[in-house]
């Protein structure tokens, strides 16, 4: 029993406890969920220790126990430098989501917080499972509470949105399940490390065509979750209809399940197929970046705007992964975290506005800065972070991704960076329309942020600045872990991708500079 097991199972225990609460003890339920999720967060901070003080490149907090004998399924959890931060992101955002929903959720309070904690359990599980069966179990478990969160506490078109969300993801996971079973039949185990080793040393040797199909099965499941253009259509619906906490968890953490899966499973297991597909995948990622940004530009609805900006930002992550460079990988992971923090914060700000004005339409606002200077400040920092202003978090991630991409193909980087420019356009324009101008009567009556709301915003803002300036807190552990993934992938590179000497040189120089 390691600390990780504790962090993983505490939310489940808390979930079961909440079920025992009386229905009308609303305040007790809120406080209990808050305290439970804060305890989980504090406990999860302990997971950083090995990465700061010992800096291992291998798995830590590993538990490997047999769960089901035949088929050979293990409860195998562990973390590395990638999982670590995603687990922390989850445990950080859950208490914030509890706070966000403190007053905004008034009906069925018990069930809401119960589902939120169950969601946390599923999400942490996804990021630390190293057994395919276990991974699949958590992958699906996370789906169920989100389905209810959107369906019960969402806005008008919630049922359509949530069913669409469930079916999209579920259909994708079915393809992944076929892949998982196929791998099991070849390898005789679900253990990820064993399968990966087998694939690398050739003891499991699917033909190239099989490899390609397996890659595709996993890829589609993950791409739906990311979501990669053109599989993104569930996302704007789900985001817009979800309650604030649901949007936050969905955007900040659930989407990362997809990119995490791509990085952790898809690329290292099937490097040849991944490399051969990288052309069209990168093309889709870039289309996603530009398309998401352009569509965001014309949205009249704030939540929809932020949702499309997610499509755009996640395109960067996919681009980074499929550049197959160290910088690209690091940037992708960093961008996952950045997006989690800054888009989460954007949804929270939009939630604050909605709670007061009960409208998500941009033209219902204007002059917010005069009425609510506190909120406007939080909004501005978040918005600037999301654009990628230097010294704030997104800049680092986008820079690394673009750098990694430029090493491989400079034209890709140019197109992708157009997305960053568009991001500035839609975000600044959004901010201008919401915050500046003359405040209407309704808007000028709105109250500024209260203590609870500052308590939600400040940690996120601190993180944005921290992640933008003290990158060394995070990057070393990420780099060691992504290098482990990239190493064997890169070794096979000569076979499939032509090296370009001039670009190689640039790569070396930048590496030195770093």
């Amino acid at each position: 029993m390691t600390l990780l097991d504790g962090v993983l199972f505490l939310p489940l225990v808390a979930f079961l406890f909440i079920l025992l609460f009386p229905k009308d003890g609303v305040n007790g339920i809120r406080w209990f969920s808050l305290i439970a999720s804060v305890i989980v967060f504090l406990a999860s901070l302990g997971l950083i220790a090995p990465y700061w003080f010992a800096n291992p490149g291998k798995l830590t907090f590993e538990t490997d126990l047999p769960w089901i004998n035949s088929p050979n399924i293990h409860y195998h959890v562990a973390i590395d430098g990638i999982s670590l931060w995603l687990v922390l992101l989850t445990t950080l955002l859950t208490p914030l989501c509890v706070l966000v929903s403190w007053n905004s959720v008034q009906k069925r309070v018990k069930e809401f917080f119960a589902f939120l904690l169950l969601l946390e359990f599923g999400l942490i599980g996804v990021f630390c499972s190293f057994d395919f069966f276990l991974f699949y179990v958590f992958w699906e478990i996370a789906l169920v509470p989100m389905y209810f969160l959107i369906g019960i506490w969402g806005h008008d078109r919630r049922i359509y949105a949530t069913v669409k969300f469930f079916l999209y993801t579920f259909a994708g996971s079915m393809l992944m399940l076929v892949g998982i079973i196929y791998l099991y039949n070849q390898a005789g185990t679900f253990d990820y490390a064993t399968i990966l080793r087998g694939l690398q040393n050739g003891s499991i040797a699917p033909t190239y065509q099989e490899q390609f199909l397996l890659f595709l099965g996993f890829f589609i499941a993950f791409a739906i979750k990311v979501p990669l253009f053109p599989l993104h259509t569930w996302l704007p619906d789900a985001h817009v209809e979800a309650p604030t906490a649901g949007s936050v968890m969905l955007a900040s953490v659930m989407l990362k399940m997809g990119t995490y899966g791509l990085l952790r499973f898809c690329v290292p297991m099937f490097p040849a197929a991944a490399r051969n597909c990288s052309g069209w995948i990168v093309a889709l990622a870039i289309i996603g970046i530009l398309y998401g940004a352009l569509v965001a530009l014309v949205q009249p609805n704030m939540k929809k705007l932020v949702a499309y900006s997610s499509v755009s930002h996640l395109g960067f992550v996919v681009l980074g992964i499929f550049s197959f460079t160290q910088q690209g990988f690091d940037g992708a992971v960093y961008q996952m975290l950045n997006h989690g923090v800054s888009t989460g914060a954007l949804f929270i700000v939009v939630g604050f506005l909605y709670e007061r004005r009960h409208s998500l339409e941009i033209n219902a606002y204007g002059g917010v800065a005069t009425a609510m200077p506190g909120l406007a400040t939080v909004f501005m920092i978040t918005m600037l972070a999301s654009i990628g202003l230097p010294l704030l978090n997104n800049f680092v991630g986008e820079f690394l991704v673009l750098q990694g991409t430029a090493l491989i193909n400079f034209r890709w980087a140019i197109f992708a960076s157009l997305g960053a420019i568009f991001a500035a356009c839609y975000m600044l324009w959004l901010y201008q329309r919401v915050c500046f101008g003359k405040a209407s009567d309704e808007v000028s009556k709105l109250k500024d942020l209260g203590a609870r709301e500052y308590a939600i915003s400040i940690p996120l803002i601190v993180l944005m600045v921290w992640m933008g300036t003290f990158t060394q807190t995070f990057i070393p552990s990420i780099t060691t872990s992504t290098a482990v993934i990239l190493g064997p992938v890169d070794a096979k590179r000569d076979v499939h991708v032509r090296k370009e000497p001039s670009l190689q040189l640039t790569g070396k120089e930048t590496a030195d500079a770093r």
């Binding site: 088929p71 179990v137 169920v144 369906g151 049922i159 079916l167 079915m174 393809l175 196929y182």
Partner: protein, 488 residues
């Protein structure tokens, strides 16, 4: 072969569960006129007692496995598994039926007697080692079920259901019988082991074609009983028309027993001629899944929807049979047990919810159940999630294991299409959850009373069973795997 017509004590011991049930059924019929109308609960108590005794007898019979009555019956792990399963289904059916029968003013002894007869027939099917016994078991089970389907004889839908079931069922049984005759003519035996040996050794040339035709004919009979496409037409009408607790029983017990004989006959007797039947089993499996799932999408009546869902699930089990390997058999066994539990749970909730005269059987009627009776709705959701195949439920693990067996047998496209089918299926199961949780309570939920003790027990047992099978599948899977070697 010298035939010994004096059965030994072991023979009887191995047949004890059936004896107990038949005796209890007869006893109940005799009791009926002697018992005052105020002591009606005695019937259900006797039935439960008989089922429990039969269960004990079935389990203890497994300690001395072997054949009995001149090789007519066989007690092995496979038979024990299905005996325990169908008797368990019987117990849960009694628990959920008694309140229903009181509600409909039809609490008479015949119901319980028929239930006992039907289950005993299914036990015979599970243990049958030759075709005539299979036929007899099938008929005992079916005839009792035909009557049960029309149990409320003043109800039009009940009559329709029973008549349809009876006519079509008899027609299908004729095919089965014709197949049996054909195989007897070809191989000179009705014993499964001997048929197998004949096909393995002597059955060259035209003989396998004849045997293949026999297999096809028998397939028609079995496919009807398990409601596999294209012989599934009866299922929706019959399931919808029959009283809810009977539908509960029909879709779990007889179906499991029919699958048991299906597997036993096709893997033992027709094992050597796999090439003749593999193609039509897997195409039927695919068709069954598609027909079931797509037809269920548009249903508004929940019984009818679950009837189509039961067709679809039969398709999944057929995938396991099409894989014709040992894992497939184990997977099918596991899945049938899990499916029986979830189906019983779901129909138990419907039995309770429908109220007198089955007034509320539309999906829309369930609106707001999640807030009116949170526990019932939560348990119902567990059944639905298990139908969908969400992890940590028995339904998921069963499905997982079935498609694993299919991939083992290299049926890759069947596995992919089957799994995509279950994504389609997710839609209509989710619709019930949508109605229960995302819509405001209507008149039908507002007037709902708490669960009766019998139904509450059934629902809880099913839900706990499903979660146990989902989280610790080994408890059942190990037994299923060790007893899935049908060919000895």
């Amino acid at each position: 072969m010298p035939v010994n017509f004096t059965p030994s004590a072991t023979d009887y011991l191995r047949f004890l569960p059936e004896i107990i049930m038949i005796l209890a059924g007869t006893l109940i019929m005799v009791m009926e006129p002697l018992i005052g109308s105020n002591k009606r609960t005695a019937f259900s108590s006797v039935t439960l007692l008989a089922f429990v005794a039969a269960l004990v007898a079935a389990v203890s019979a497994n300690n001395s496995p072997g054949t009995s009555f001149s090789n007519m019956l066989i007690v092995d792990g496979f038979a024990t598994f299905f005996r325990v399963l169908v008797i368990g289904v019987g117990i849960l059916s009694v628990l959920s039926a008694s309140a229903y029968l009181r509600r409909e003013h039809a609490d008479s002894a015949e119901y319980y007697a028929l239930l006992l007869f039907s289950v005993s027939g299914q036990c015979v099917m599970a243990t049958a080692n030759e075709l005539i016994m299979i036929f007899i078991g099938l008929e005992i089970s079916s005839i009792a079920t035909y009557i049960l389907a029309g149990y409320l004889r003043d109800d039009k839908r009940n009559n329709e259901s029973a008549l349809k079931y009876f006519l079509l069922g008899s027609f299908a049984t004729a095919f089965l019988l014709y197949g049996i005759a054909w195989i007897y003519g070809t191989t000179g035996s009705t014993n499964l082991g001997e048929i197998r040996n004949f096909l393995l050794t002597g059955g060259a040339g035209h003989n396998t074609v004849l045997a293949g035709t026999a297999a096809a004919l028998m397939f028609v009979g079995f496919a009807f009983k398990v409601s596999a496409a294209p012989f599934q037409i009866w299922a929706p009408d019959v399931y919808q028309g029959a009283p809810a607790p009977v539908t509960l029983f029909m879709s779990a017990g007889p179906k499991a027993a029919a699958f048991a004989v299906f597997m036993r006959v096709f893997t033992t007797a027709f094992g050597p001629i796999t090439n003749h039947w593999e193609a039509f089993v897997w195409s039927s499996a695919l068709l069954t899944m598609i027909v079931g799932n797509f037809a269920a999408l548009t249903q508004t009546n929940i019984k009818r929807m679950l009837a189509y869902s039961s067709i679809a699930h039969a398709g999944y089990v057929m995938v396991a049979i099409a894989a014709h390997n040992q894992i497939g058999i184990a997977a099918a066994m596991f899945y049938l047990a899990a499916y029986a539990l979830m189906n019983i749970g779901a129909f138990a909730v419907i039995t309770h919810f429908s109220r007198q005269g089955e007034k509320y059987v539309n999906i829309e009627d369930l609106a707001g159940l999640g807030w009116k009776q949170p526990v019932t709705a939560a348990l119902f959701s567990i059944f639905l999630l298990s139908f969908i195949g969400v992890p940590l439920t028995g339904g998921f693990f069963g499905k997982f294991y079935i498609f694993k067996s299919a991939l083992d047998a290299n049926l890759i496209w069947l596995a992919i299409l089957g799994l995509l089918n279950s994504a389609v299926a997710a839609y209509y199961y989710l619709r019930i959850i949508v109605v229960m949780y995302f819509e405001e309570p209507g008149e039908s939920t507002a007037t709902l009373e708490p669960l009766t003790p019998g139904i509450r027990t059934t629902v809880w047992v099913s839900a706990v069973g499903i979660l146990l099978l989902g989280i610790f599948p080994s408890i059942l899977l190990n037994f299923a795997t060790s007893s899935s070697a049908l060919v000895k």
